[in-house]
Amino acid sequence: MESRHKSMKAFGEDLALPEVQLQIINRNNGFPSFEEKYLEVGEGELRTGKIEIMQINLGKMCNQVCKHCHVDAGPDRKEIMTKETMQLCLDALASSDIQTVDLTGGAPELNPDFKWFVTEIKKLDKHIIVRSNLTILVTNGFEDYPEFLAKNKVEIVSSLPYYKASFTDRQRGNGVFAKSIKAMQILNELGYGKEDTGLIFNLVYNPVGAFLPPGQECLEKDYKRELAKNFGLVFNNLYTITNMPISRYLDYLLASGNYEDYMTKLVNAFNPAAAANVMCKYTLSVSWEGNLYDCDFNQMLELPVSEGAPRHIKDFNQAQLEGRKIIAGQHCFGCTAGAGSSCGGELT
């Protein structure tokens, strides 16, 4: 599969439309429905508990065009959260006891008000996670960002699909591995990933193809050994994440003839123990426009939070959002296969 330089949306591809994706993943192909399968957990229907994390998508613009991206992000995407919407998020956070704010994108750093937003969240004494693609940190005009993130004790979570260039560049674009290593060296020099600095630096593995991720603990040992041996690099934890059968990864599955087998694999690997801990139970996802979703995947599929709950950040009400029914679909099997998958890795 050739590297992409633009999003599916830029090419006007049908699959860029959420309704087309939903039509494919929810069609009756003999699989049990996720909602039906979830009952095996023994807790009744899937509902949220206490919200612990507000995950805010700052926009779909990205300097990379990864083949598996569930956001269909890229340099051509102009959807960016405004400062006004950021202020609404800050107001909501100030009125809540949510402790963690998880900033994602696109490349969240590309939002022109990123630094202001981080500084304001910090004033509210919240823990901040930034999902950085690493290469943006060594891009012209962003060289001071690592130091800014360190100064604000921001936790960094970054994708590195493998500890070698081959897999990484095949998924994320030519040269991404070398740039990522350079960024990691800068982060390590600032104390990121090192003991007793309080600067947390975690890596994310996701399969470069139509297969499930390896065990997190085992692969983390390989990553730590190889990155230390070859580049003298350190990091805190490795999160293994399953690819969700939506957006560009769905495009890859269909084009490579792997879609049916991959879905079969996800459904057969349904693990009630993983399902019991899915991240949507304690996460609220906010879009660049301020709309509220159960997770970033539902956000991209334009499946808003259930009816009756506030659907925009301006109407945020923690009590009304907690205990709401989660909107599930067949893509949810991606979070419950094997050891499970979340933005924080395995669930079991």
Partner: protein, 110 residues
């Protein structure tokens, strides 16, 4: 039957339970135990299995253990080296029998 090997047949492996359920159960328990992490990691075991699959030239096993190797964190480089190990042993096994040829040759010729 158009062909002896059909990829879909791999999913029918468990049907071997029918006819000899006790033997299947024992095989399954042993097989599962073999591939658990022990002195060797699960990745190393998957790569050994992949190499053996090539040595015994089992298409089902090659399919299953290419997937398993990827899902245990191996990449194409490691899998290719594993196949070379199997090939080297197969090639070497032929070549080392040349010693027998030489023994016979020595006995029969002046």
């Amino acid at each position: 039957m158009d062909t002896y090997y059909n990829p879909k047949d791999l999913n029918k492996f468990a049907e071997m339970n029918e006819g000899a359920p006790v033997l299947w159960e024992k095989f399954n328990a042993w097989y599962t135990e073999v591939f658990k992490e022990g002195a060797l990691s699960e990745r190393e075991k998957a790569l050994i299995a992949l190499a053996v699959a090539h040595a015994v030239q089992c298409p089902y096993c090659i399919d299953a253990y290419t997937q398993a190797s990827l899902e245990k964190g191996a990449d194409l480089e490691q899998m290719t080296e594993a196949v070379h190990v199997a090939s080297a042993i197969r090639g070497g096994a032929s070549l080392v029998h040349g010693v027998q040829m030489r023994n016979v040759n020595q006995k029969l010729t002046m």
